[in-house]
Amino acid sequence: MRLLSFLLLVILPVMTNAQEYTLSGRVIDNSSNETLIGVNLIFPDLSTGVVTNDYGYYSIKLPPGKHRVILTYIGYANAEEEVNISENMQQNFQLSEASESLDEVVITSDIEALNIKKPEMSVNRLSIGTIKKIPVVFGEVDVVRSLLLLPGVSNAGEGSSGFNVRGGAVDQNLILLDEATIYNSSHLFGLFSVFNPDAIKDLKLYKGGIPAEYGGRVSSVLDIYQRDGNSREFKMQGGIGAISSRLLAEGPIVKDKGSFLVGARSSYAHLFLKLTDNDNSAYFYDLNTKLSYELDESNKLLLSGYFGRDVFNISQNFENTYGNAVLNLRWNHVFSDNIFTNLSAIYSDYYYGLNLNFVGFNWDSGIRNLNLKYDFNHYISEDFALKYGIHNTYYKFNPGEIAPIDESSGINYFKLNDRYALENALYISAEHKFSEKLSAEYGARLSNFFRLGQDDFNTYVNDEPVAYNPRNGVYSEADILESRNVSRGKSLESFTNLEPRLAIAYNFAEDQSLKVSYNRMAQYLHLISNTSSPTPLDVWTPSGPYIKPQLLDQYAIGYFRNFENGDYSLEVESFYKDIRNRIDYIDGANLIANNAIERVVLNGEARAYGLELLLRKNEGRFTGWLAYTLSRSEQRTPGRNSQESGINNGNWYKTNFDKPHDLTITASYDLNENWDLNANFIYQTGLATTFPTAQYEYEGVNIPVYGVRNEDRLPSYHRLDLSATYYPKKNRGRKLQSSWNFGIYNAYNRQNAYSISFRENMDTGRNEAVRLTLFGIIPSVTYNFKF
């Protein structure tokens, strides 16, 4: 209530402005009629502006009269138009993709200044055009791999799944595809991500200063929007690569009103078969679909779907299938010119299945959720806009079901109890321009989580599911006191958190600004995984009586500057974050098919801090960036009382993805009409690991004794990637547009350590250290086409 009255106080003065009218509408791509997200509309004479929202919609209050408006958007030619305001009016603008044959409108005013003034910070945006140029392993364009080139984003080594943002864990990233939660972003255990680049319109990564409209994960938000499809004409595009091929079709259902998009991608099933000389296969596929239909100027329906699976089959003994499926129906509705609303009904599903023939069982697990969202963008005045909304999510967790494959199997049927939860959130967020120099985005999210009843809910002595033996300092699973069935209509435990968010930009000098942000976030779901990088088998578990929600406080400060009229830009940010209730696992925790996971986890804490630097060259033939991150990421789990030792003796230890130094240089050179050249260079501190400090023999086996957790390092990681894209001359003037991409990953064949392992040599009986290198030099060729 206090917050509300505060907001009212702030709103009231700005609402009593002089005579103004509303200009609203959409900005669309001129060839496909597709809406464009994040287009800057600048009114240079009024020194004001607006940015299109996630559905390409904008709304702004303007005084009567004729005004110039300039539209700018990455990858598109700038446009200048004139609007004559005498009443509330709607106007759609069209932009054309930038190409060398078109004369671009020359802009003299300061375009990028708007971004400098916006309170938004710690946000990285990559256009799909940029992503497609970045050299990648096997020549497969990849969204997540591209993100790794940005400051503050890293992963736990080559071939590890997911990504880590500002020292946060993989499960702390909220990954949204058309607003639906994606639970596992990786194909082939992390070699590729699940996003088909041809089907993606826009992506934004929030590393900090996360607006109140997002919640449920503490580290970052990766917000990805699929394309709607071309509603002007039928188009196809695709590519043939070393690992996978893609094909995408789109076109109008009703010209200029409705469109469809269907994209498919599949890897080659027999890739690994030949190389291993037996019955193995490993492949993945994706299907992206979208239907959009504009009912009238103020109503639009969008239906989007994604279905992806990875399948491994090893000599008929082992079959493993996993993947995400999402379906989302949205209704965009505009109330009275300045209130844009979106209502979404979203279904998300993550499935993991395993068939182990040689042991004789099938295993199924997964998570499902049904999500209802109603979001409002309320453009109150040119200096003040509100976003508010309500989100409800119902979760069903299937931690696992084991079934014998036939009668002769020695395995009994066993079902781990399903878990249920309900997550609600209410948020309000204001974007407020106090003066020419000072603007802020502030708001709060009130989140609330109910862990609902389940079968076989366990109780323990002193409510402690983990027992501790003070004599030898060993944690173990406590005995279950009582196991009872609790109805799903009852709540086992509930949590409520108020999550304030604040970001302020102070534009203290021409082309320079200082920004600060603070955000608190709550995360109610935990990915149960005690390996360095999550595996697809890892199960999600809800907070409840024994596992508390993770709570984050993040502070960031940044300095932003544009040089040479925005040709160059510099971003320097420093952050500190602190996460309470980060779970950790007791030694020897068995996470697989564990029906009472609370018996192997303890609540600990995590922290991370760092400095990020991003220097970009945005314009010209030569573009690119230099990103450097200096950071630390640690966690600890002290004992629950003074008698207990905690995990790792209760001391702070570095996380598996802690990388103090991380340097990336990405460069792109537009040689001529036919050739684009690209290069990346990456240097990173080796990952934290633990080496043995002694050994002994026990039961005839040689056992290593390890030192302090994660105090050692793998050798530093570096590599250079090169690629060249060739656009044949015959492309000109014909419908079929083709291109060839030639790439070399790890050009100087650096033998980067994926791991250093220690083993007893079976022949000599001596202990030795073994370095495993995953990718040496890898050349690739990809053919892409569009017509």
């Binding site: 090893i314 300092g473 360095s532 002694a694 002994y696 005839g700 004794v705 350590a753 392992s757 001596r766």
Partner: protein, 269 residues
């Protein structure tokens, strides 16, 4: 555990362009610690009178020699009050020739070394025994290995934990519990690309306690040959059940346990 291992294999199959190389890594050396291998084993069909306990200390990781401990005094006392003194024979091996094994009876180990007193208590665990052994060619994970299955029948009325020890040129430890197999006939599984026709494989099935199972579970996770990769489990100090009564912090490694054993040898056909 098995699922985990399978994962590893897929990952190796996937990393078809990966390359392994032995490298020199300098390691720090920690202070030597006492290691107690006090496994009292009663092989079915024997009297179980002769028992051995092995003492050593940890040594630098790359060193080949084991450092035996020769000057300790060891005594095991049963719940019934019988005491068995273990005398040092050689190379850190202490023996007693008159041990009387009794299933389910509690025994206490007391050990003195370097003026420090160590102790542990355990009871004698029984085991069901192996029903038969089955050989399958063209088995294993990749489908081209010889695999052996040692079938046994799990008693339905209790929680059971098993250690299978397969010995060819090397020793392989497999652990089983009966959470998903209670009361069934099931098998201990061994396959190895190196076994050939004519090889003799030693198979031991041992009954163990839940605590010892947990201990071995952690211990085994430390032997894995994939430390450092994404599927690495966190290294841990593997603490056993033997307590240093003089100085808790200077805890020994190893375990005191008593197991009934069904021991077979199998000649690969």
């Amino acid at each position: 555990m098995r699922i985990c291992k399978s994962f590893l294999i897929i990952f190796i199959v996937l990393g078809f362009i990966s390359c392994e190389e032995v490298v020199d890594i300098d390691l720090e050396n920690s202070e030597p610690r006492l290691v107690v291998e006090a496994s009292i084993l009663w092989i079915k069909g024997t009297n179980g009178n002769r028992q051995e306990i092995r003492l050593s200390t940890t040594s630098p990781f790359y060193e080949e020699e084991i450092q035996p401990v020769t000057n300790a005094s060891i005594i095991i006392t049963s719940e019934d009050g019988d005491s068995y003194v273990f005398i040092h024979e050689q190379d850190g091996i202490y023996t007693n020739e008159e041990f009387q094994p009794v299933l389910d009876l509690e025994y206490e180990l007391e050990l003195v070394h370097d003026n420090q007193v160590y102790s542990a208590t355990e009871s004698f665990e029984s085991v069901a025994g192996i029903d038969y052994i089955e050989q399958l060619n063209g088995g294993g994970f990749a489908g081209d290995e010889i695999e052996l299955k040692a079938f046994y029948t799990d008693p339905a009325e209790e929680e059971n934990y098993y250690l299978f020890k397969f010995t060819d040129e090397n020793v392989f430890l497999e652990l089983y519990e009966d959470e998903f197999t209670n009361g069934n006939q099931i098998f201990g599984y061994f396959s190895n690309e190196d076994i050939e026709q004519g090889d003799v494989v030693g198979i031991q099935m041992q009954g163990i306690s839940r605590e010892y199972y947990d201990y071995l579970f952690i211990l085994r996770s430390q032997i894995g040959t994939n430390q450092g990769g994404p599927f690495e489990t966190m290294p841990a100090v593997v603490k056993g059940n033997i307590i240093n009564e003089t100085n808790l912090d200077n805890f020994p490694l190893g375990y005191f346990r008593l197991s009934e054993v069904d021991s077979r040898t199998y000649t690969v056909e």
